[in-house]
Symmetry: C2
Subunit: 358 residues, 2 copies
C-alpha cells in the first residue's frame, strides 16, 4: 500500500513538474496565428500611427507607400531591440522616436497646430513590471516627448508634468529641445486653416463646433507602441500633438495613464488613439486590463468589449493596439482605418491601414 502511495505521489510530482506548452495567439484583424514558444523566446511588438477616417479613396499610392515604409522602419527598430534581449521600455521609446521624427504622424515633427498656431505635445509611457509611469502634457520645445515622459518616470518623483515646468525639468535632465519652429509643417498648417474656415462658415456653437469631425483629414494621428520583451516585461507608450485647433491648453488622453497608455505584466500593455475626451471618460487602456484581470477575458475579448461596445455606446471613436503577457497581439478600432503594424518572435511582419486590411 505504502509503495502504491509513493508511486502515485511520484506520478503526481512528474505531472505537476511538466510545464504546459505556451501557446501564443496573435490576432491580426481576421487572421489568427498560433505559435508554440517557450517564455524566454517569446516577444512581440505592435504600433499605431493614429485612427480616424482613413479611406483608400482619399489616399495616393505614393502616400500609402510612405506610411507603410515608415511604419515598417519604426517597428523594425523596436523588434531588433527585443530580439537582441533589450527591454520593452527601450523598444517602445525608440520605436516611437521614429514615428515622432516623421512628419507623416501627429506627434513630434508633424504635430497638429493649436487654435493659436502653436504645437503642444503630450506623451506618456508605462512600465508593466513596476507599474511606474511618466507623462508630459503641453510641451512646446521637446523634440521627442516620449523621451521626456520616460525621464519623468525614471528620474522624478512624479508621473505627470506639464507646460513650462515640464520643459524646465527637461533642461535639468539634458533632454533634447528644439526651437518651436521645428514642428512647423505645411500640411498641418493647411489642416488648421481648413478647420477654422469650416467653422467660421457655421454658426458658432461653442460647445461642439470648433472641431469638425467631418473634415476628411481630421484623422487624429497619435502614435503609440506596446511591447513584450524576452524577460516577460510589458511596456506601452503614446505620443501626440493632440487635436487640430485645440484651445485652452486642452489635455487629451495620450498623457493620461489608464486612458491613453497602460501596462501591467499581469495582464497587458495598451496604447490608445482617437477622440481623447471619450478615452478619458471610458478609461480605455486600463479598462481592457481590468476586464482581463477581473473577468478573465482574453486580451482580444477585452479590447473588443471596450472599443466596440463601451466606447462606441458613449459616442467615442478611435482604437487601441495591445499585447498581452503571453505575446498575443490585438488591434481594435471603430473608425474607417488605423495605421498599424505588428512583429512577433518569428519575425513575421504585418502592416495595415484600412479596416479591411489583414
Amino acid at each position: 500500500m505504502k509503495r502504491i502511495v509513493i508511486f502515485l505521489s511520484f506520478i503526481v510530482f512528474l505531472a505537476c513538474k511538466e510545464q504546459p506548452k505556451e501557446v501564443t495567439t496573435t490576432s491580426i484583424v481576421g487572421t489568427t496565428i498560433e505559435e508554440t514558444l517557450s517564455p524566454k523566446d517569446n516577444f512581440g511588438i505592435v504600433i499605431h500611427g493614429g485612427a480616424g477616417t482613413i479611406l483608400k479613396e482619399n489616399m495616393t499610392p505614393e502616400k500609402e507607400t510612405a506610411y507603410k515604409m515608415k511604419l515598417e522602419e519604426a517597428i523594425r527598430i523596436g523588434h531588433t531591440i527585443l530580439k537582441n534581449g533589450g527591454t520593452s521600455l527601450e523598444a517602445v521609446e525608440k520605436t516611437i522616436n521614429v514615428l515622432e521624427n516623421s512628419p507623416l504622424f501627429n506627434a513630434g515633427k508633424g504635430a497638429v497646430f493649436t487654435n493659436q498656431g502653436t504645437n503642444e505635445l503630450d506623451a506618456s509611457i508605462m512600465d508593466g513590471s513596476t507599474l511606474n509611469a511618466g507623462a508630459v502634457a503641453g510641451v512646446k520645445t521637446i523634440k521627442n516627448p516620449i523621451n521626456l515622459a520616460r525621464e519623468v518616470m525614471l528620474n522624478s518623483p512624479h508621473v505627470l508634468l506639464s507646460g513650462s515646468g515640464a520643459e524646465l525639468f527637461a533642461k535639468e535632465r539634458n533632454i533634447e529641445t528644439v526651437d518651436p519652429s521645428y514642428f512647423f509643417t505645411e500640411d498641418r498648417m493647411r489642416s488648421l486653416e481648413k478647420v477654422k474656415e469650416t467653422i467660421s462658415k457655421k454658426e458658432a456653437d461653442k460647445t461642439t463646433a470648433f472641431y469638425d469631425h467631418t473634415i476628411k483629414d481630421s484623422k487624429f494621428g497619435t502614435v503609440g507602441c506596446a511591447a513584450l520583451d524576452k524577460h516577460g516585461n510589458l511596456a506601452a507608450g503614446t505620443s501626440t500633438g493632440g487635436m487640430t485647433n485645440k484651445k485652452w491648453n486642452r489635455i487629451g488622453d495620450s498623457p493620461i495613464i489608464g486612458a491613453g497608455t497602460y501596462a501591467n505584466n499581469a495582464t497587458c500593455a495598451v496604447s490608445s488613439t482617437g477622440w481623447g475626451e471619450y478615452f478619458i471618460r471610458a478609461m480605455v487602456a486600463y479598462d481592457i486590463s481590468a476586464l482581463m484581470e477581473y473577468k478573465g477575458l482574453s486580451l482580444k475579448e477585452a479590447a473588443k468589449e471596450v472599443i466596440q461596445n463601451k466606447l462606441t455606446k458613449l459616442g467615442g471613436t478611435g482604437g487601441i493596439v495591445a499585447i498581452d503577457h503571453n505575446g498575443a497581439i490585438t488591434m481594435e478600432f471603430n473608425t474607417a482605418g488605423m495605421y498599424r503594424a505588428t512583429m512577433n518572435a518569428t519575425d513575421e511582419l504585418t502592416i495595415g491601414i484600412y479596416k479591411k486590411d489583414e
Copy 2:
C-alpha cells in the same frame, strides 16, 4: 397539464414582478447602519478634507473643533440640496465650495505653495448619469476650481484644460477669478519653508528627497465629495492645491478622471485624496468601480481591496470616500487619519478625523 403550465407561469410572473426591498448599508468605520428606503427617498453624501499623518497628539482642541465645524457646515449644504430634490452634481459643487473657501483645507483658499512660492490648483468633477466629466490643472487665479471643472464639463467639448488656457476659458465663461495673493496663508508658507529647510539639510536625492513625508504637517488636505441624489444620480468631485513644494508644473491625481474622481450610476461615485502619483498609477477611483462592475464586489469590499491591498502594496498612502447607487457609504484610508463626514437620508451625521473615530 396545460392548466398546470399556465398556473406555474403565473406564479413565475408574480415572483418576477415583486421588487425586492432596497436595503441601504451605510458603513462608517466600524459601524454599519442598515435602512430600508424606497429609491426615490434615498440619498446620501460623503466628504473628505484630506488624508495623512493626522494624529490626535498634534492637534489642539480648538483646531479639532474648527475642522469639525467646517466639515459639518460643508456637508449640510450638500445634504440640504439633496433633501430638497436637487442634483448630486450641484450638491458636490456647493459642498466643495465651502471647503475651498476655508483656509483649513488644501484647496482654493488654503492651497499649499509650490516650490516657486505660487499656488497651482487642480480640480475635477464627474456626472455618473452621463459619464461626462470636467477637470482643470494648474490654475492660479480661479477662486473655486471645482466650478471651473464643472464649466469645462458642461460648456466645452473637453474634459481637461490646464494652466493659462484654462484661465482664458474661465474668463470667457465668467467664472470668478481672484488675484493670486488671495491664496496666500501664513500656515502654508511656513509649511513650504519647513519642507525646504528639511531638504536643504539632507543630501539632495533628486528622485525622492524634495518631499519629506515624515514632516508632521505633510498631510495632503485635498477636499472631495461624493453624492447620490433622489433621482438616482451619482456625482463626485475633488479639489486641491496639490503637494507642498511641488515643482515643474506637476499634476497629481485630483484632476485625473479615474484616479482622483469617478462616478457611474451603475456602480459608485468616488473622490480620492493622498499621494497623487500612486493614485494615478493604481487608477484608484475607477478601479473601485471596476471591481464592483466586473467582480460583483460591494462598494466596501472594492474600496478595501483597492486602498488596503493594491495601493498599499504599491507603496501609496491616502484614502477615498465613496457612495454607491444604493446609498451605501464607504470611507477607506491607510493613513493615520482622514478628515471626513457623512450624512444620509435620515439626517444622520457622522464626523471623523482619526483612524479610531466612529
